[in-house]
Amino acid sequence: MLEIEIDGKTLQVADGSTIIEAAHQMGTYIPHFCYHKKLSIAANCRMCLVQVEKAPKPMPACATPVTNGMKVFTHSELAVKAQKGVMEFLLINHPLDCPICDQGGECQLQDLAVGYGESASQYQEEKRVVPDKDLGPLVSTDMTRCINCTRCIRFTAEIAGFMELGQSFRGEHAEVMPFIGKTVDTELSGNIIDLCPVGALTSKPFRFSARTWELSRRKSVSPHDGLGSNLIMQTKHDRVMRVLPLENEDINECWLTDKERFSYQGLNSQGDNGRLTKPMVKQGGEWKEVDWNVALDYASHALRDVAKTHGGAAIGGLLSPHATLEEMYLAQKLLRGLGSENIDFRLRQSDFSADGHRRGTPWLGIKIADIGRLDRVLVVGSFLRKDHPLIAQRLRQSAKGGAQISVLHSADDDLLIKLAARAIAAPSQLPAVLAQIVKAVCQLKGAAVDAALAGITVSTEAQAIAQSLVSGSNSGILLGNFAQQHPQAATLQALGHRLASVLGGSFGFLGEAANSVGGYVAKAVPGAGGLNAAAMLKEPRQAYVVVGAEPELDCADGAQALASLTKAAAVVVLSPFKSQAMLDYAAVLLPVSPFSETSGTFVNTEGRVQSFYAAAKPLGETRPAWKVLRVLGNLLDVAGFEFNSSEDVRAEALGGQSDFVSGLDNGVDAFTLNLSATVNGFERVADVPIHFADSLVRRAPALQQARDSATPTARMNAATLKKLGVATGDRVRVGAGGTATVTLSTQLDAGLPDGTVRVAAAHADTVALGPMSSVLNVEKA
């Protein structure tokens, strides 16, 4: 520790601190633009100049390390004169167009200019004009306002992992820009809007739609991936106009993914595929908008009839893993009240053989904040950068700090992380390769090799991963969405668990959705004799209750989901959105609130309970789903439905658990490994593209224009293309055994194993292909 004095006050700071860090520690603000605690130090704006005793010149607080006994003056005449001088320079070429600038009211330059600027400038020469740049559908530019702080550049290079922006030309001609003709395509691009201290980079979807002081603000929680990023929802007249990160160092730090930032546009979606705002029932094949009581009556009658005639087990409940804890809890309670144990939220899972062997609720295995402390990491079966962008970001920083990250997966997408080792294998081979890694680690550690692994041969890739893992002292094994969706998911889990225990490290799952843990907490899983998500579609039910999901896009086998739903006598859908598919299969559509219009709770991947309030009033006749479910419970005479608030529901669902839920355990007992891997044909590698993963993001127009929303293709490596006799860009007909085929363009992807074809799931274009995990036949169209 060092002792220093700032403006006469003494304080202790850690060795290696800079003056600005020390000042912030004691609550003293030092004006700055280029400095940002998460980025490297540039020291270029010079706004943070302060006086340091004995230093002949003012020193930049952001870059000057504290020394013991240092005396700093942040407001002395010398300091203020230097700061005012810099402010004058910043303003001479600035357009001073605050009245038409979207940053107006929340602009660091504007704020500081009030304190440090002179009212009239002596600069009377012509001002610089900088051409604007096209950064894509999300970020809008007014480059003349840019003050060259380079925060955005450092963000792309350091946090997002690939330098997409640079400062070209020099001196006064310097311009921040992407490479000519390029846009900013990182899944984290929106953060540069927050980082830009002036109005040079602003939100394109938000542009000119509101002034900051017109907006109401509410804290919320992201409904997308399992991280549970903290949000600030900004609304005007009960319409969400903008979403910003709420800083939480333990979760999203100060970042948001573009999905989290811009998906709000889907909340305001309209039209045939947009928001459902009125209850509707299908009568004689015709859809009618009806009053709530009519619709609820209709729904309860339909469910009661099926339960009566066919028994409760004839009803299946498909719950979105993005639904709130309260919604899932009430839905399962309702279904159980009707006599059905067919309840599930694990819609994209295809292997449920761990059910009954699981020791507890699958979770991340560690705290999110502890990911950065792992020095050896193996990520298994994950499109990490797109499925968990902010966890990828954390690992990226760890890798820079010396942690070794390895990957076992069926696609070699560039994670923009320096990898220590990798094994890329066809989906059917993943269990075998993971088994090899376990074996190699056992051998390296001198632990007994499990009998089931005795006969297998360890490949060089597996050996390299094992060697990396054993060389550290704090390892973590993480199973991604792809591993969880894998047809041998339980085997992967058992192997991952075994691997971690040999290593003495942690093991966990990267939660796919906002409530991947919460679903278990809410008991939204089948009970004894009940059918899981896959089974209740495979063995069609008479009736389904669908909460927040679009099964044709959200289930492991969309085609089968569609077929079963269509066949069912009654499908009751609670959804914030409508779609053509819904109109086809449903009997009644109940418009329920998206996360922004209801209070609720998500339990994130580390088991953290995060509740939020509605940021806006429900749109049209929309009602919060928990209220709708409560009324249905009452109408169906299900006991225990006397809830007055969502808090009541939460209290019952959590049963005394508070900040973090209990019962988290990734172990599996008495489970037989399934290492078989015989596949004839082209194995499908199915990813869930980042902007198609859930109903909300699918309806966000700006995101749908982003690079990450490209039309699905049939991707394969050069050898596979050759084997098929097709060239990149050729059209191919792809089928999966059934009669339906889809026609796609081929695309070269050198990162895929031989004999695999990568076709995205969760997309209307590929629903007909059926299961995410399948053997495809491919032929030239």
Binding site: C45, F89, E125, R170, G171, H173, A174
Partner: protein, 447 residues
Amino acid sequence: MALIDTISPLLTTGWSKGDAGWSLKDYEARGGYAQLKRILSSKMTQDELIAEVKKSSLRGRGGAGFPTGLKWSFMPKAAPEKYVVCNTDEGEPGTFKDRDLLRYDPHSTIEGMIIAGYAVGAKRGYNYIHGEIFDIYQRFEEALDQARAAGYLGERILGSDFSFDLFAHHGWGAYICGEETGLLESIEGKKGQPRYKPPFPANFGLYGKPTTINNTETFAAIPFILGMGGEAYLNLGKPNNGGTKLFSVSGHVNRPGNYEVPMGTPFAKLLEMAGGMRGGRKLKAVIPGGSSAPVLPADVMMECTMDYDSIAKAGSMLGSGAVIVMDETVCMVKALERLSYFYFEESCGQCTPCREGSGWLYRVVHRIEHGQGRPEDLDLLNRVTDNMMGKTICALADAAAFPVRSFIKHFKSEFEYHIEHKKCLVDPEVQRAGSGFFRASSVARVA
């Protein structure tokens, strides 16, 4: 070939044969590489070597005049990977000594760098050569090949335990790469934007590794210092200003060129060596240390001796030893305008005060020169320079400010005349005549 003269040849000993005396054989014939051999065979310690350089009182010839021995002693001993870098990015207007050093005697720099590598424990070095002198870069590469072939570079040099290799890197037109950390960034394949210091290169240099960086002339002096002994070298000059120095004399003299003289030689003597004033005209002003150094009026300059301390006392800097001589045909406003344009164009653009201030200075001086000056402009210029100096990452902002302040300080009346009369005090035809560029009255177009 520019004219050369000397009264105490050390660095320039090998220059007499012009382009014919640069190769390894010539250098060896002059006693070249003897010091390297001596060091290696006698197993001289790093500390002994550095002590000898300290004794010589050699000060860096790149501009800042930092004691070289002291700089070398900052290098951490234990670090496994270290670098030695030579700064031949000679871009300071008026400076052209390093070009001739590498042109006529590249091996003295090479030997100096190898010895420096030995002294600081580096295994690799780079020489960063100004892009505009590509022919010199090519010659240097040839010289490197010769040295490598002769076993002076590479693994286990001359059978010793010491390994060192050296490579040339060229610039491509950016003055700021002369600033040592901008130069390091440039070698790393980036824009040459200077780094904030601390950490200094001795701790965090090339590729983040400890690095010693010196000017070409500094390295070139090393073999001579070791040859004659640190003390003898010091005694050539004056205390705290050891040895000889190359001065690049340009402008209104009869014989522009490089002159090697002992530190402390009177300016008058140097002017005489350079053939005196062109056309016998009257000396008006001198910029004694490259364009970044404050200008001094004739009478002040004539009293100076050529060493760091004397020039500093007179209110300027010895800098890189570039002596820009101006006679009475010079319009000081126009001269300043050109210099201000240079700094405006060459600012790397990262620091706000330099990026914005250098353009502001240039535009105001430009206005004055073009007859649109305002009476308050001179105060404005001084105020802008105030806000630039000492407030940036590197010294370019200061370098942009010094000329402005010194020109106004010493030649204020000429600026005032310009503002009031909207024209030069010196008639443009007189200015032209002063430049010595005469031409036929009618020009035949060729394209």
